[in-house]
């Protein structure tokens, strides 16, 4: 059927070494990616309270109908879900995702996704070639880094990349010139599981959650896939036209006259925008995931820093002092983190925490926490290498850091105190502070209502970065705060019309309008970004300097979905599917033991005002928080830095939010009424049996 789906999901049982086909049609109502992943996890994981290292944990690796198609920024993304190892106070059912070309090869091999269950008796890697799936011995790969592993598997699967190779016995099985796509973990990743990521090619990573550790616990080193098939599209001409329409919003189409407005944009940023300058003299190309229109990474003339961008590069360059901190240093450090398959957000948290402990005289040679690393030169690649080596080989402080950040702090007897002061800036759920919930409330609240740092920049690009950069430069904003609010809120169906949804004033962040913002954000991202795969670096494209009067492309997502699937779904209908998916996630967390009382920030968020004065609670790469606010009835851009989160007001806000979502305001659990109206009666029944169903 020409609807973008391959038609079947590959279930791999590592215990029995058997594979099974699950028809995708059972799950198409969930869209793809996260939606299907959550639904599959619900069905396949009998006991949702198991630990992430338990063989009963189910890991899903899921594409969408848009994967492998010309849909820009969605074609290349793949969603990973399962019970993770990173979360606090327990490993939540969590998500990550990664880009590149793995999802495309999976689709072309004839699979919409993979569900991995069980545990292999010895190290294996999975070899998928179209419909042929085999379990290969990974003993010789287990100690190799992620790049070495991939090169070894490439040479095993496909000796003559770049020439036409038959995948079947005859030419009727199709041919491909392509290199196999591999997803792998780092060297002996079982030893640093909670910090371990999944890496694909040079720099695509499912970084957070500890999925590298989950793979390792299953004795699974890597999955390789190569396909010679294709994906049928319902309306190819409409897909072409939609593609050409969206290209107008990207810089590549405007090379005659690129915009020069400072700011961080979604689609409107330039290609190859890795957010760090390269060493002088390095030349580069932009590099992107399959089908992308933005192409945000690079490959370099030195081969150092390939496909790394943003936090990959910034983790060793943010808030640390001392040492020769040069561009070559931080690109070498990013390459090492990719090779080791380490969570770079956690590494940034570790560096800032250790720096604080060192400054306090608590850490160092012969100190209370004995460590002989060269803390006087933390900015250098030599130091970063010594730290990463210590984690991978469990020496010095690395032995305890390998347990995970909060786990390490607990072992050192410092968890509560360091969370209270913020020198260990794990904002919530054990995830490193990314953007500040005290100032950019929708980021903080969204993270609280989920199970991790949300890492969803939809509002952040515009309301925070644009506003802040214009202020830092003294640049006259190209749009007023009121216009910014109007453009954004007009796109937030079904809540469009309430401009206070982006009022980040002291009152605004605790309002009912902010509850709508968070609800919309959860639903939009669950569907469009995490289920259909629209990339966080292209969407939401609220405001775009190339758009008509600065209006971006958000709202246009259904053009692609409908062209590929042949459906006629509206933007708002898609957001509603996201609401359904989010409620299923809340149900899973409820079964895992989630309570309202757990949904709180770390102490420093309430105790300390947000700031960029280094040394205090997180001053990573953030800049002073200028946001759109309503003050004396007027919209202005204002620096809202210095705020603390008010504990009681946050609790009051949570009550408003739960009510808006149709959940029990005492527990935060979904009610039967809400679940049934979403078609989730069976979920309501299960929650009720477990005593976790919200009361109306």
């Amino acid at each position: 059927m020409a609807n973008g789906y391959a038609g079947k999901i590959l279930k791999i049982d590592l215990t029995t070494k058997k594979v099974e086909e699950i028809p995708t049609s059972k799950y198409e109502q969930w869209g793809g990616g996260h939606g299907i992943g959550s639904a599959l996890f619900w069905d396949l994981c009998e006991d949702k309270t198991v630990a992430g290292t338990n063989p009963k944990n189910v890991v899903t690796i899921m594409t969408s109908p848009l994967s492998g198609t010309l849909t820009p920024t969605a074609s290349g993304r793949t969603e990973v879900q399962g019970i993770g190892l990173q979360g606090y106070p327990l490993g939540w059912f969590t998500r990550s995702n990664f880009g590149g070309r793995f999802g495309t090869q999976l689709k072309y091999a004839g699979w919409d996704g993979i569900a991995v269950v069980g545990k292999s008796d010895k190290p294996v890697w999975i070899n998928i070639q179209n419909g042929k799936v085999t379990f290969e011995d990974a003993k010789h790969l287990w100690g190799l880094d992620t790049w070495e592993t991939q090169e070894d598997i490439w040479s095993t699967v496909q000796a003559d990349v770049g020439n036409w190779n038959e995948l079947g016995a005859t030419r009727d099985g199709g041919r491909t010139t392509q290199r196999p796509a591999v997803l792998t973990i780092g060297p002996n990743a079982d030893k640093y599981g909670p910090m371990a990521s999944l890496i694909h090619d040079a720099g695509n990573g499912a970084g957070q959650g500890g999925f590298g550790g989950v793979f390792a616990s299953k004795n699974l080193k890597a999955i390789s896939v190569i396909g010679s098939g294709g994906v049928k599209v319902a309306d190819p001409n409409a897909l072409m036209e939609s593609r050409l329409w969206l290209q107008q919003y990207a810089s590549g189409e405007h090379q005659d006259n690129p915009h020069k407005i400072p700011g961080e944009w979604a689609l409107g940023s330039p290609p190859g925008f890795v957010l760090a300058p390269f060493p002088e003299g390095t030349t580069t190309r932009p590099q992107g995931c399959v089908g992308c229109v933005k192409n945000c990474r690079s490959r370099t003339s030195t081969g150092i820093g390939n496909e790394s961008s943003c936090i990959d590069v910034m983790f060793s360059n943010s808030g640390v002092v001392g040492g020769a901190n040069s561009p070559m240093d931080y690109f070498k450090s990013s390459d090492l983190a990719q090779r080791y398959g380490l969570n770079v957000f956690s590494l940034m948290g570790a560096l800032q925490w250790l720096q604080n402990l060192y400054k306090q005289g608590v850490l160092g040679p012969g100190k209370a926490i004995n460590s002989s690393l060269d803390y006087a030169h933390m900015g250098s690649h030599e130091f970063v290498k010594s730290l990463l080596d210590s984690i991978v080989h469990q020496t010095d402080v690395g032995k305890d850091l390998a347990l995970g950040l909060w786990q390490c702090a607990k072992k050192w007897g410092r968890l509560e105190q360091d969370l209270d002061t913020g020198i260990l800036a794990l904002m919530c759920w054990g995830y490193m502070h990314h953007y500040d919930g005290r100032t950019e409330a929708e980021w903080g609240y969204g993270s609280l209502m989920c199970e991790r740092d949300i890492n969803e920049h939809d509002f952040n690009w515009i309301v925070y970065w644009c506003s802040t950069l214009w202020s830092l430069f003294g640049y006259t904003p190209p749009i007023t705060a009121e216009r910014m609010a109007k453009i954004i809120t007009d796109k937030m169906a079904p809540y469009a019309g309430d401009m206070k949804m982006v009022d980040y004033s002291d009152e605004g962040i605790y309002s009912e309008s902010m509850a709508k913002t968070v609800a919309w954000h959860r639903h939009y991202t669950r569907y469009y970004k995490q289920s259909l795969g629209f990339c966080d670096w292209g969407w939401a494209d609220f405001v775009n300097p190339y758009g008509p009067d600065f209006e971006g492309a958000t709202g246009g997502e259904p053009k692609f979905f409908n062209a590929v699937t042949g459906q006629n779904q509206s933007f708002e209908e898609g957001v509603e599917v996201g609401r359904k998916i989010f409620n299923l996630d809340r149900a899973i967390w409820a079964l895992q033991g989630r309570t309202r009382e757990m949904e709180v920030y770390a102490g420093y968020m309430y105790n300390v005002g947000s700031t960029t004065v280094p040394g205090a609670a997180n001053a990573g790469y953030e800049a002073p928080y200028v946001m759109p606010v309503i003050e004396d009835g007027k919209w202005i851009y204002k620096n809202v830095g210095g705020r603390k989160a008010d504990r009681q007001k946050v609790e009051d806000w949570k009550t408003k939010y739960y009510a808006l979502e149709g959940w029990d305001t005492t527990t935060g659990q979904p009610t039967r009424k809400t679940l049934e109206e979403l078609g989730l009666t069976e979920v309501a029944d299960t929650l009720e049996k477990a005593g976790k169903l919200g009361k109306a």
Binding site: V274, S318, G319, T611, T612, Y621, Y637, G641
Partner: protein, 129 residues
């Protein structure tokens, strides 16, 4: 500039001094969204040199190559008052900060206030510019 025109020699020496390492003001060299490096300011002269207005060309340049010499304006004023001991200069800085203008617009004004005070100190101490 609303500081007085006469300061004593003792005050001038105090204002112009280099502070102890544990009294330094921490500032941040920002590459927007591309990492921050911590730096330390030990004197009014250091603070004046640190404040770098951004030109229109630089603001229009590629974001990755931008460098912003950031200091929390309130922290700067507090440091001037509490560590350097110059209440008058701190009050003048507070006035500028109180306009609520964007950071980029505060920078040239704060820079000038501090530069004027440094010149005054040097004149009083009989030092050459």
């Amino acid at each position: 500039m609303t500081v007085s025109s006469t300061i004593g020699r003792e005050d001038a020496a105090r204002f112009a001094r280099v502070v102890e390492p544990d009294e330094q003001l921490t500032v941040v060299k920002m590459a927007p969204m591309a990492g921050n490096s911590l730096m330390f300011i030990s004197s009014l002269a250091g603070a004046e040199a640190w404040l770098k207005p951004i030109s229109a060309e630089e603001a229009a340049g590629p974001t990755a190559s931008m460098r912003i010499h950031y200091v929390d304006p309130g922290a700067l004023a507090s440091w001037v008052r509490d560590t350097i001991g110059d209440a008058e200069l701190a009050a003048a800085l507070d006035d500028v900060i109180g306009t609520g203008n964007a950071f980029g617009l505060l920078v040239p004004e704060m820079k000038k206030l501090i530069a004027d005070r440094i010149a005054e100190c040097r004149a009083v101490l009989g030092e050459e510019e």
